[in-house]
């Protein structure tokens, strides 16, 4: 609790600091490469034959995913707080790479916790983190995926709290993390709103984003929440189907609970123990979802659904062929919902899909699934 109080105080103080904001804005522009484009996907639109599809190209941000928006912000925050060391959890490795990048940029030490299962399926990102000077710590207990990596990172933070900042990678965990991460990610929706107004002269009819913890979705949705005419869809990982242990669709198969300092929807058994999860995408393979998504679901503002492994894999290949863009497997879940939804929409409707990351990291795994030796 004292660490959270300290973080909240520092964050609110820096939020009002003009120099801090200027420093972040300059880095977002010159280092991350923002604003990322809003791209009209003409061939995918023609192929599906319904609404006009725009892709918010977070895959073009430095390090290849939206994760850098938050990691960079928190790295700068940590430096201002006088911390010497960053730690983070990672599932797909994108947040680990982004944090290692932020640490290198700010001259901080860096340690990344990653489940042993994820280390196997995301070996490329493990090597990238090491190149960036981070130490990758294997977590071989429990589910050996993102959830246990968070547990270990929290244990480290408890132990080394005086010198260390924990860069939580998603809109989860105890306050103020969900707020800080959403704020740093909300640049996605702020840009997308301006860009779609420039391109179409009006707001979109739909926003679609995939949801693990939910940071890319919160980032896209946040500045549209008050625009009632914009419908929003969050897509969870349906894995091999909604059977306990075979998916990570918390809204479809979960119930209210408290995990890692957050009250939200969880995949749990009747005794309150957390269930195992499965998704083809390491970044969505997690038993809980950000608390603000739980709120948006209960209030009815956002509709939540899921895509299975197979649907995501086929969307992964579809976008690669039609647009020449290889999407992350996480983002492929948002694309899978797009494939289901768009053919039934009028041609003058506008849909924005958050292409939260690029798929280079997933190429080896997809080859393995297809039985292709590289």
């Amino acid at each position: 609790m004292p660490a959270l109080d300290e973080l909240e105080k520092a964050y609110f103080a820096l939020g009002k600091d003009r120099d801090f904001k200027r420093e972040i804005d300059l880095l977002l522009k010159t280092y991350v490469g923002r604003p990322t484009p809003l791209y009209f996907a003409k061939r995918l639109t023609d192929y599906l034959g319904g609404a006009r599809i725009y892709l918010k190209r977070e895959d073009l941000a430095h390090t290849g995913a939206h994760k850098i928006n938050n990691a960079l912000g928190q790295a700068l925050l940590a430096k201002k707080m006088g911390k010497k060391r960053l730690i983070a959890e990672t599932g797909a490795g994108q947040h680990g790479v982004a944090t290692a990048t932020g640490a290198a940029l700010c001259g901080l030490e860096c340690e990344i916790y990653m489940g042993s299962d994820d280390i196997v399926r995301q070996s490329l990102n493990v090597f990238r983190m090491r190149l960036l000077g981070a130490n990758v710590v294997e977590v071989a207990i429990g589910s050996r995926t993102l959830k246990d990596a968070i547990n270990e990172a929290m244990r480290d933070w408890t132990t080394n709290v005086r010198s260390t900042h924990y860069v939580l990678g998603t809109v989860f965990g105890p306050h103020p993390f969900p707020l800080i991460v959403r704020d740093f990610q909300s640049v996605i929706g702020r840009e997308a709103k301006k860009q779609v107004l420039d391109a179409e002269g009006r707001l979109p009819d739909y926003l679609i984003a995939c949801i693990g913890g939910g940071s890319n979705a919160m980032g896209l949705f946040h500045h549209f929440i008050d625009d009632g005419e914009v419908k929003m869809i969050g897509v969870e990982a349906g894995g091999r189907g909604i059977v306990p242990g075979e998916h990570a669709a918390r809204f479809a198969g979960g119930s209210l609970g408290v995990l890692q300092g957050t009250k939200s929807y969880l995949l749990q058994d009747d005794d309150g123990n957390i269930l195992g999860t499965h998704s083809v995408s390491a970044g969505l393979d997690y038993a809980a979802v950000g608390p603000e998504h739980a709120f948006l679901r209960d209030s009815g503002r956002v509709r939540y659904t899921f895509a299975t492994d197979d649907e995501a894999l086929s969307a992964f290949e579809l976008l690669s062929r039609t647009e020449g863009i290889i999407p992350a497997l996480e983002s492929s879940h948002a694309l899978a919902e797009t494939v289901k939804l768009v053919p039934g929409l009028p041609k003058d409707n506008v849909v924005i899909v958050n292409l939260s990351g690029r798929g280079d990291k997933d190429v080896q795994q997809v080859a393995r699934i297809k039985g292709i030796q590289l």
């Binding site: 929290m154 408890t158 609970g257 408290v258 995990l259 749990q268 309150g272 123990n273």
Partner: protein
Amino acid sequence: MSRIGKKFRDIVKRGEKAFIPYIMAGDPDLGRTVELVRILEDCGADIIELGVPFSDPLADGPTIQKAAQRALSGGVTLHKVIDLVADLRKHSQVPFVLMTYYNPIFKYGEERFVRDASEAGVDGIIVPDLPPDEAGNILSFSRKADFDIIFLVAPTSTEERIRLVSKSSRGFIYYVSITGITGSKLSMDSSISSHVSKIRSLSGKPVAIGFGISTPEEASEVARFADGVIVGSAIVKRASDPDASLREYLLSLRKAIS
């Protein structure tokens, strides 16, 4: 007054210190837990802490994590631990404190949990992931049932936080000796004694120290400025040792805590 409150009152009156051992309920099975409770009582335990296995024990180091996994794979749940205490209560008057995480209690239902646990003879709980700021509901249920909710203070706690914990905690206050997780290495320095005396002066409640205490020497050192000493991981590690050597170890702790 709760059983824990009475126990501390008597101990303080006698000028002694409380020995509070921790074991993981159901590790490796509930039968062994019954045996261990008897051994702990024989060896002079004043209060017994029973760990409830949870899938994601954030405050625990590898020793207790593994013990929890063994208990979970044997099918031990919060319900079963409450039933176990009801059985133990038939023969024992030692205060039992459950150490668990918040989600199993939340899922059980807070009001129902406090009722069932206190009816079974559980005297209090320690919930490391539940700060007093978020404990309004369970505190109000527990007041009616004379059921103690024991909160933790860390070395990094500010005076403001110590005041909040002091006000809310009942039975005793749990001072975490290190910034870290259970079973870590203890580093003895003067800050422990100054923190504990500060907590005492702000709260007037008994303070027990835990996390990282494993040898009789450490227990004896810590006992100098606390009202009680909690030993967990070091006992959990020996839970399957032959009874004679386990007893010898426990007696050496008991002797050191005076």
